[in-house]
Assembly symmetry: C2
Homo-oligomer: 538 residues x 2
């Protein structure tokens, strides 16, 4: 395309009625012409004066576009000699395997000659790699799409996607693990929030030092000492974005790919993904009414590097780990130099008795990493969790957290700290415990009314859900699907097990986010799904 | 300790003047007595009636404490027979290596007998593992502390900590990479924030669906298409907590441990840690004035699985990747099925010309993952970033993000979306670009005034810092330390290189967060540090 041809080509395509400024249109068109080689490398572009005149636009616009194209490397400008299309074609460079031809061309001079078309073996492919090419050749665009679909995820990526348990549903009856966020004291929160924004403290808006805001770590240490019997100083506390990040941090600091971690069987599926993606092998350990119950085979195997347990409220089954098991676990870990991650995700909500003490409080060997979250006690979307590191590792945890995650959100942390310090946190927990306790009772009554002892509900002493056992051999996934078809969300218990062979059928029924009066009707709908799916049982 | 002895022991320790309720004190003392074996397994504890009378406290208090201890497994209660200390000692259980003795004892009955003291070989260790033991034996506590210090981080954890580049300083002259957060339009932000809190939408307070809030993804897609020439639909956008999380996600989905990634040399240290901790081998590729410049050796090596580049504004040196290199990189990636991560962290701030188009916009093979952040344009503590996934992988990225990170913060995302939609975002960028441009000029003038051409400042066409080159062979770390002693933060350029051999000395000088009038005086102080540390040069 010669200079005069270029003017015509541009004139046909410039749309003065368009909302897009002429500058941007001209810029894009020239880029397109160069990338598609309609303007070949080495070609001289018209002077800004000439092009402006032929297109009937301001010369300044053309000058600016040329300057931008120089900066971007599309054209080069040699004073007194004019502006030339740069040679940027990649064909010979990366196609070559001989060392001699591997040097990249620079766009620093106007001397690059156009590549003769005959030499450009992969011409059509290169053209397809240019913006706008898809519009000129539908065939090529289709080929590209196919090719990009064929590009594979990695092995760990594939495993992550195929085993992902995450649901698109985020609430409604009977979504387990979701608290009632509509009762959150929004006015108090907003008042504190506005107070901090009014004073506009730059130190709260920038990156966080490792571990989080000192004030929050301080009030949290007080809370955990008093309410959860956790032995800790504020320096041991690391503020995270939740249980997932807490576990991710501990796993990356304390284990290497190929290491083994004991997990409870069943356990929370989300955590399994976090472990696998960091290269850990999980060894599922059975649980009984006293919690984690390693078998002779488990003890005979090489000791794991890590153990992940939910001693205060086994997830999802709901039992409490007995003192005997706690002491056994601590002693085993001490002898074999394992780390124990204690996931204490919702034990604030215990009905009929006080919350139970943490496992961490029994540990004096500095081997327990305690993790918790405000997701259930306040609201999940807050994304604030914490871990308590062993004293000797507190500094390393803080450094690693800053290095890996570049923390921030200090203003929100300040609001949260004051929310706790002013007593709103414990008072909110108290209110919600009463509310959830009531909903739990409504649900348990509905289950008992409908099924008596035939389908017992267990794990209801604490937390936000109960587990309804289904008859042995029944297909809880089918029941959950039938329920979903009726707009009721329950999770099949079998999905929490490491394998189908070990799985017991059941349903996780979350009652916390369901208004009292909706619980019984929703359960009736669920019962319909159960009865339809398991006719043999009915 | 017999029952009557126990009453005396408790009476001596109960403190009625304490702020701690009697319930809690009694609970703790009994736990302590049991764990330390002052009350041995199998011992019968006094009836609640008797103990209450002897201690002169309400019987109901004792009953409640006993109930809690039963729940926690410290004691067992057999109707009509009394309450007994449970056998929870772990010694024989986990010390044993024969399969026959590995069964754990249950605390389900009152029949457990006390272990004879002579049989308990590891008695002192077990005692040290109980709360309160440290106060009775200083020696044991000291031993415990040593032991826990000796517990090692993993190999990847150790590497992470020893190579961590994170600084405890978060601002001040001349901290690079930190924007001026004091100019953030806090009132607008607070207004939008309050609007969403007032309406209290539960769907904004719970977990997020994979990818983030639809509205934010929508306005962001518009912005990226218009301002960064990114080709994307809202569905391709994944909201993250920043560049670190975006890269973490891409790396875990697209690579496996042991895979190689090309990184620029020098590059941002924080990203190196994220890559290493996921098991990647980094191959540092030299950069020149056109950006990434792979050598013959690099091309001859097996192709990497990933490449990580900063084409719009090389970090930290500041050059723009030329079009020739961009096309070369895209073509090489296409031929060898590599993925390219484009880190576009601050290119909104380009002075003297318009922001340059993204590399992603040139890609039609679906091989570029574009990542960006609001950390520099709004404020770092916001912790909102994004990635643009290739169309074919958008769904996988959304799923993986939800599965790995359990996203939330939707209310903040709603505020941000409206902030952008109402035009505050682009107007804030415009204002800050003018402000930073001015500060940059003040700094460049100060450098030129003091050092002329001897120590050139480069990379100042965009971003929030310039790089001042230091004479070859000089020790930039020593200069940075001398500056820090004068309360001036600069980062030594050599720290960004993969090795000391490849490093060029220089200083990263961040001007964005320094008020205009403080720049020249702060630079004088820095110059003093330079001149003192490099006397040969002066």
């Amino acid at each position: 395309m010669r200079a005069s041809v270029l003017s015509d080509w541009l004139a046909q395509r410039l749309d003065r009625g368009s909302a897009q400024p002429v500058y941007r249109q001209l810029h894009k068109l020239l880029q397109q012409a160069i990338l598609s080689r309609e303007l070949p490398a080495g070609a001289r572009v018209p002077s800004s004066r000439l092009l402006a005149a032929e297109l009937g636009i301001a010369r300044n616009t053309v000058t600016q576009v040329y300057e931008q194209l120089v900066l971007e490397g599309y054209v080069t400008s040699a004073t007194g000699r004019g502006t030339f299309v740069a040679d940027t074609s990649p064909d010979e460079i990366v196609g070559a395997t001989e060392i001699g031809s591997m040097q990249t061309r620079t766009n620093g001079g106007a001397s690059g000659a156009a590549l003769p078309a005959g030499k450009v073996a992969t011409n059509s492919e290169s053209a397809a790699a240019a913006p706008g090419a898809a519009s000129t050749s539908g065939m090529e665009a289709a080929t590209q799409t196919q090719r990009s679909t064929a590009r594979a995820l990695s092995a760990r990526g594939t495993r992550l996607i195929t085993s992902a348990g995450v649901s698109k549903r985020q609430g409604g009856a009977f979504m387990p693990g979701v608290p009632d966020v509509s009762r959150f004291p929004a006015r108090v929160w907003t008042r504190l929030h506005n107070k901090y924004w009014r004073s506009l403290r730059p130190d709260l808006l920038t990156y966080a030092p490792g571990g989080g805001l000192a004030l929050l770590r301080h009030v949290l240490a007080d809370y955990l000492r008093t309410s959860r019997s956790v032995r800790c100083s504020p320096e041991q506390i690391i503020i995270t974005t939740g249980i997932h990040q807490s576990i991710d941090l501990a796993v990356r600091l304390l284990s290497d790919p190929g290491d083994t971690i004991w997990t409870e069987d069943p356990c929370y599926w989300g955590v399994r993904s976090v472990l696998h993606v960091s290269g850990l092998n999980t060894r599922p350990i059975a649980v009984d009414s006293e919690g984690l119950n390693p078998s002779a085979g488990d003890f005979a195997a090489p000791p794991p590097r890590l153990m992940l347990v939910t001693p205060s409220h086994q997830y999802p089954l709901g039992m409490v780990m007995s003192l005997a098991r706690r002491r056994m676990l601590l002693e085993y870990a001490r002898q074999h130099q394992c780390w124990i991650i204690e996931d204490d995700y919702d034990s604030e909500f215990r009905y009929g008795s006080r919350p139970l003490a943490s496992l961490q409080g029994l540990d004096t060997a500095g081997q327990v990493i305690y993790v918790g979250s405000f997701g259930k006690t306040l609201f999940p979307g807050l994304r604030v969790g914490y871990l308590v590191a062993p004293e000797a590792l507190a500094e390393s945890f803080a450094t690693a957290s800053a290095e890996l995650y570049r923390e921030g959100q200090l203003l929100q942390q300040a609001v949260l700290a004051e929310f706790i310090a002013e007593g709103h946190f414990t008072s909110h927990i108290r209110k919600m415990r009463a509310l959830y306790g009531q909903r739990r009772q409504v649900l348990l009554d509905a289950v008992a009314r409908r099924y008596g002892d035939a389908l017992p509900a267990m794990g209801g002493d604490a937390g936000l859900h109960v587990v309804m056992q289904l008859p042995e051999g029944s297909d809880d996934r089918a029941v959950a699907e039938a329920a979903l078809a009726r707009n009721i969300v329950v999770r099949p218990l079998s999905g929490y097990y490491s394998s189908r062979e070990r799985a017991n059928p059941g349903l996780l029924i979350g009652y916390a986010c369901v208004p009292d009066e909706e619980i019984a009707p929703a359960f009736d709908t669920l019962a319909e799904a159960i009865d339809t799916t398991l006719p043999a049982f009915v």
